[in-house]
Structures are given as structure tokens and as C-alpha cells.
């Protein structure tokens, strides 16, 4: 097995040449992205260094409550990011989203690290945190797409939803097409990722393991588990969150509460 080749600081700085290329492209094409590229670069370096030190500390501490605390912070941050993308002012959805993400991702991460990988203790941070991170990151994007789509379609098709209500539909029947469309829109990227994996791209986790010297045949097994886990956790969390949010779009008399902005 190959030894890991450590990247020195001067070598790391060499990688900045890629950023330089991006900056020059933005300047030449007048894309106006130079500020964003600079901020992105600084954030990437500082956030990852911070994460590196934090993970080193957490892995060393081997503390259950610290591990779970990090998990809660990760979910909280994900909800915060979803909130930034969805920008819904009328219907509150943050608390049920947080609670659902917390419980469903916890069960997924627990299932994978304890039963599939077989780590003891089940909360071993070296396994639990990266697993949770992948689940949260992937499902966060799916949820943001689904929730945003649900609200925008409820607004756009408000008259059609009310037409169905007036013909005797309950709120689920009146919004079933919108609900299905929003759910599918969120889940399709995870399903597409299963189609392209190994052919079009090598996933980040597997690349990382291979670069770190792991046998590719071991790395693919981890990747298969991760791909299945991502599709499953996205489906579970999306269905639960979306059902709760859809109910909140209607009042006690099943009247549509989402009004044009």
C-alpha cells in the first residue's frame, strides 16, 4: 500500500495558482466574480483548517456528548442554510425541519456506523461525524430544492389548488401534484448520482480514501454504502419534512394559507 504523501505549506500555496486562473478569467470576461472568488478562497482555507483542528480535538477527546453536540450544530447549520435558500416568510417550517433532520439523520448515521460498518462504540467520532456530515450535506440540498419548489408551486398554482378544494378535495388531494413534483425535484440529484458514479465521476469520499492509501476495493464498498445511505436518508427526511410543511400551508379548515407575495 502506498504511503500518504503529505502536502507541505509551499505545495498548498502552489494550488492557489488554480484560484489565480479563476480570478484572471473573471477579470478578462468581466464576470464580476473576483470578490466572491476571494471570499470563497479565504473561507475554504479558514473553514477547513478550523474543521481540521476541531476534528483532531474531537477524535482525540472520544466523548459521546461532544460528538452528539457537533452533530446537533451540523444539523442546525444545515437548517440555517436551507432558510437562506428558501426565503419563505409566510409559513414557518424551520422547527419541524430541524427536528426531522435531527432524528432521521441520527438514525441513518447510527444505522450505518453501528450496523453496516460495525464500529464500537456506535458514536466513534471518526466514523459517526463524517457519515453524518455526508448525510446532512446531501439531504440539505435535496430539502432546500423540495421546500422551495413546494412553496413556489403553491403560490403559482394557488387557483388550481383552490379549484380542487372547491370540488371537494381534501388538502392532500388538492396539492398532490405539487407535492409529488417538489419531492421528485429534490430526490432526482441523489438518484442521478447513483447513475453516474464510477462512470462519470469518482465520489469525493472514495477519492479521499484512495489518495490516503486505501485499497480501491475497500473504498468502493464504503462508497456503495454511502450512496445507498444518501438516497435513503434523503427520501425519508424529504417525505417527513414535506408532509409537515404541506399541512402548514393549509389552515384548520383546509384553506390555503399561502398567498401571493
Amino acid at each position: 500500500m502506498n504511503q500518504i504523501i503529505e502536502i507541505s505549506i509551499p505545495q498548498l500555496l502552489l494550488a492557489l495558482l488554480f484560484i489565480l486562473v479563476a480570478q484572471i478569467t473573471s477579470l478578462v470576461q468581466r464576470l464580476g466574480l473576483n470578490k466572491d472568488i476571494t471570499i470563497g478562497t479565504i473561507r475554504t482555507v479558514s473553514q477547513l483548517f478550523l474543521m481540521g483542528y476541531a476534528l483532531t480535538f474531537i477524535f482525540g477527546a472520544q466523548n459521546l456528548w461532544l460528538t452528539l453536540g457537533i452533530f446537533v450544530v451540523m444539523v442546525f447549520s444545515a437548517v440555517f442554510i436551507i432558510r437562506g435558500r428558501v426565503k419563505e416568510k409566510q409559513i414557518s417550517y424551520e422547527v419541524p425541519t430541524f427536528m426531522t433532520m435531527l432524528s432521521s439523520y441520527f438514525l441513518t448515521a447510527l444505522f450505518v456506523s453501528w450496523l453496516v460498518i460495525g464500529v464500537h462504540p456506535w458514536w466513534e467520532p471518526r466514523y459517526f461525524i463524517p457519515t453524518a456530515g455526508m448525510v446532512i450535506g446531501n439531504s440539505m440540498s435535496a430539502l432546500a430544492i423540495s421546500i422551495e419548489r413546494l412553496f413556489s408551486q403553491m403560490r403559482q398554482q394557488r387557483d388550481v389548488v383552490e379549484m380542487k378544494l372547491c370540488l371537494g378535495a381534501n388538502y392532500r388531494e388538492a396539492s398532490s401534484e405539487i407535492f409529488k413534483g417538489a419531492l421528485k425535484a429534490g430526490m432526482i440529484p441523489s438518484i442521478n448520482a447513483m447513475m453516474g458514479v464510477g462512470l462519470v465521476f469518482i465520489p469525493g469520499m472514495m477519492s479521499g480514501q484512495i489518495l490516503a492509501g486505501t485499497d480501491p476495493l475497500i473504498a468502493i464498498r464504503y462508497q456503495i454504502v454511502v450512496m445507498f445511505m444518501l438516497v435513503g436518508s434523503t427520501a425519508i427526511s424529504s417525505i417527513i419534512v414535506m408532509r409537515i410543511i404541506r399541512r402548514r400551508c393549509f389552515g384548520a379548515s383546509e384553506e390555503l394559507l399561502v398567498t401571493p407575495e
Partner: protein, 222 residues
Amino acid sequence: MHPLLEIRDLSFGYDKGSSPVFEHLDLDVRQGECIVVKGASGSGKSTLLRLICRLNIPRSGAILFKGTSVAEIPPPELRSKISYVQQIPQMIDGSIRDNLLLPFTFAQGAHKTAPDDATLERMLDAFYLHEVSLDQSALKLSVGQKQRLSIMRTILTGPDMLLLDEPTSALDADSAAMVFSIIERLNTEEGKTLFIVTHSDYQPAVSQVRSCTFRNGKLECA
């Protein structure tokens, strides 16, 4: 005997603290009556219809249907007994048949027998839609045709009362005349209780008609 619909001390405003659209509104509607409500834009005419079928919720007061508060009737049941026909007719992406049978796909209408093609075709004729076929796309119809189809679809569910929100506002004179004729027949021949909101000068040629006007947040009936 209870009136079919009783409106008691009804007030409505959009937001808490905002001035009310109307206040302390009272009205009794008897079986077979045709109520025509007029008033300026924004006076609350359409809102009143939406409150009756609980698409909006009143700030205070009560609406009783056959002596029972509409708030206590399960919404799908309420809305199939008191059917609201929207100002702009809405169709699903499908054939005319798909649209007409839509209410029978919902749990509320599932136990009812869906009409067969021969019945639907007879009804299309009665609604001045002889030129269309059941397999035709509903989205391609004119607004006037959609409005007549929309009223027909509502009638198929067998409501006791129809709430018609500006049914001819988007129509040309010929289409409007057809809709008025249908409305009058529904009342005189089928005994349907009608609640029509309009800002035209339309006066239905039916015997049990009553005109009401919204003025300064109050409903004045003749």
C-alpha cells in the same frame, strides 16, 4: 325551519389590527333563492363567498348551513354542498372528460356514481358546449367555454348551493348571455340556491331573486 344559510354578525379583515373589510353582516338565504350581491371592487363581495365555503376565515361571527356552523362541517363535505365557482375558471391538464370527472377522483366524491359519456354529452349540449368533444383538451378551450364547463363540473357534484364569483367578468357579451341563461335555468328548473357576486347590471330573470349591495362595509338587501 332553518334558512338554508344564516350569516350572523360576520366581520372580516385580512390582518390582525388592520381595518375590517366589513363588519356585523347579517343575512338569511332561503332554499331556492337567488341572491345577487353588487358593490365596488374591494368592497368584500368575493370575500363573502370565500368565507361561506371557508376558503377564508372570518374575524368574528358565524355562518350556519342548515343550522350547523360551517366550521363544524368537514371542509370537503362543506365544499361539495356549497360549491364556489371561481371568477377565472381553472382546468387541469387533461381532456374535458378528465376535468368533468375530477370531483369523482377525490375521496369525498368517490362513493358517488360518475356520469357516463352519454350523460356528459347531453349536459355539454345543455351548457351550450355542443361544439366540443369529451376527448378534447380542456386547456385549449376559450375562457367562455371554460366558464361553462366549470359550472357544469360543479353541478355534477350535486351541490345544494352555488357561489358564483363574477361569473361573466372575463367573458364577451355572447358568452356572458349563455352563462346567465344557464344560471337562471339552474335556479328555476333545478331549484339550486344561488349566491352571485357581480359588478355588472345583471338582474336574473327568476322569481325568487333578491339584490344586495355592499356600501361602506355594510350589506344592504332589498
